[in-house]
């Protein structure tokens, strides 16, 4: 049986774009949370962690309504940009970003919070601005955490399923990602095709995780030794 590799490529593309976007969004969010002493911080943290615990069907339902060109946001987008987010790759990217946000923010925030406060203070006493301090001192010293964030985001997006099932529309080449393809093939009793997809995803996910854990150990050793 000939296997269609398009869902795998699509998944890869989605994971890559999501990860890049989340680098740009997640790092500033993590940085702000890490140094915040505001009493609203726990609220912000709870909101960011929500995708971690909320059923994809709940999130999917709300996104379905939010993106619908019949109502509010979706209506505005359609009217002004002629942009329809449901059943589009852009919609998947946006929902993946929401869904994987905690996977980027958590490790980076934890990394920043674990840095001794004296590093930031020392940079300040040397006359350096917050921005310089962040990019030249703080960020380079949380490489393992940053790596974890990138990898977890990437791998978690590879595994996105429930959300795509609800708002993707199973369009080949656009929203038919690997996890959906597997579901479909299983339901259609094409176990062989499902086996191929599942095995590939399993191997990729495992390799990524193993690399992180092996590398983290190595990175950690570099710091200690």
């Amino acid at each position: 049986m000939l296997t269609d590799y398009q869902p795998l490529w699509l998944t890869l593309k989605l994971a890559l774009i999501t990860t890049v976007c989340l680098l740009a969004i997640g790092i500033p969010v993590a940085a702000i949370l890490a140094q915040s002493k505001s009493k609203f911080k726990p609220f912000a943290e709870a909101i960011i962690s929500l995708p971690l615990v909320l059923p994809p069907s709940v999130l999917g339902f709300y996104l379905l309504l939010a993106f619908s060109p019949n109502y509010g946001l979706g209506k505005i987008l359609e009217a002004t940009f002629n942009l329809r987010l449901v059943f589009s790759f852009t919609g998947l990217v946006i929902s993946s970003i929401i869904y994987s946000l905690p996977f980027m923010v958590h490790p980076v925030q934890a990394g920043l919070e674990a840095l001794p406060g004296s590093l930031r203070d020392a940079s300040h006493t040397l006359g350096k601005s917050d921005i310089t301090t962040f990019f030249r001192v703080l960020l380079p010293n949380i490489k393992p955490a940053l790596l974890s964030g990138i990898v977890l985001t990437f791998a978690h997006t590879l595994g996105e399923f429930g959300l795509v099932l609800m708002i993707g529309g199973n369009i080949p080449g656009v929203t038919r990602v690997a996890s959906i393809a597997i579901y479909d093939e299983v339901e259609a009793l094409n176990f062989n095709t499902a086996h191929v997809y599942a095995a590939i995803l399993l191997v990729v996910s495992f390799s990524i995780l193993l690399t992180v854990y092996l590398t983290n150990k190595r990175l950690f050793k570099q710091v200690v030794a």
């Binding site: 590093l119 350096k128 001192v137 010293n141």
Partner: protein
């Protein structure tokens, strides 16, 4: 000249208390900050650096106002001309020794300053090493010269020499003194090692429970000029018998024959012991 007048609430072990310090230090003073653990020494240093905010306070350094809570002046840390040596060194682990110094240098072209300072503290060979591969004495020296890169008006040192073996301690004391003289800056050092304070500083601030309880020159504070020809000790009578009195003095025992003077002594009595320096015999420890 440095003028400090700050009030800050401290959460001490026995409840909350107030850090309250009013002091004026002459220009180019080498000042020691002295006092028991938890007295507020680190807190005071951080307030001066701008790393902590007091509820109320004025800090003026060489005529420049760094902080004045009444006039709502609070100069950013970056603008204060300070060098801070942290208790944990705070070297940047991602940079080599030279990169740490380069980062601190305001004018990136004047790298000859770096080379000359590296040579002075015998670290030239280690310039390309990452901080984590250095011994603690080496780290301390890097932290010290990194703090000097900006040629600060005020150098703040938080127990920079504690928990070091004697040889290393003395080496760094010498370097510190020579930098102080060469750069003509103000130094504020936290230390609870009395001989070190006396050796290095010309001003002492003594803190206790957040309060400045004494301030002045080391001579004044520790009664050094009192009687330099006399050694004064305190001992305790251990036993008195027919022939002799046994005394416990500074962890060793001496025995002296009975005399009129000792007639009324009994075990447990405290005794002052004095000796003229001409009667002392000295020998250098190797």
């Amino acid at each position: 000249m440095i003028k400090i007048s700050v009030r800050k609430k401290l959460h001490l072990a026995h409840g909350s208390s107030m850090l309250s310090v009013d002091a004026e230090l002459p220009a180019q003073a080498f000042t020691a900050l002295y006092g028991p653990s938890g007295a507020g020494k680190t807190t005071l240093l951080k307030i001066i650096a701008g790393l902590l905010q007091p509820e109320e306070g004025i800090i003026e350094v060489n005529g420049e106002t760094w902080l004045n809570t009444h006039r709502k002046i609070n100069m950013p840390i970056q603008k204060r001309s300070i060098g801070f040596v942290f208790q944990d060194f705070a070297l940047f682990p991602n940079m080599t020794v030279r990169e740490n110094l380069l980062y601190a240098l305001p004018n990136r072209k004047q790298t000859d300053v770096i080379e000359s300072l590296l040579t002075k503290v015998h670290l030239k060979n280690l310039a390309n090493r990452k901080p984590d591969t250095l011994s603690s004495g080496q780290k301390q020296r890097v932290a010290l010269i990194r703090a000097l890169m900006r040629k600060p008006q005020l150098l703040l040192l938080d127990e920079p020499l504690s928990a070091l073996d004697d040889a290393m301690r003395q080496h760094l004391q010498q370097e510190l003194t020579s930098f102080y003289q060469e750069y003509g800056m103000n130094v504020l050092i936290v230390s609870h090692h009395l001989p070190e304070i006396i050796k290095l500083s010309n001003q002492v601030l003594q803190l206790e429970g957040g309060q400045l309880i004494k301030a002045g020159t080391p001579d004044m504070l520790f009664n050094l000029e009192q009687n330099p020809d006399q050694l004064q000790l305190i001992g305790e009578v251990l036993s008195v018998d027919e022939q002799q009195v046994k005394l416990w003095v500074e962890h060793s025992m001496i025995s002296i024959p009975l005399s009129d003077n000792t007639a009324l002594w009994k075990a447990g009595d405290k005794v002052t012991i004095a000796c003229h320096t001409r009667d002392l015999r000295f020998k250098k420890l190797s």
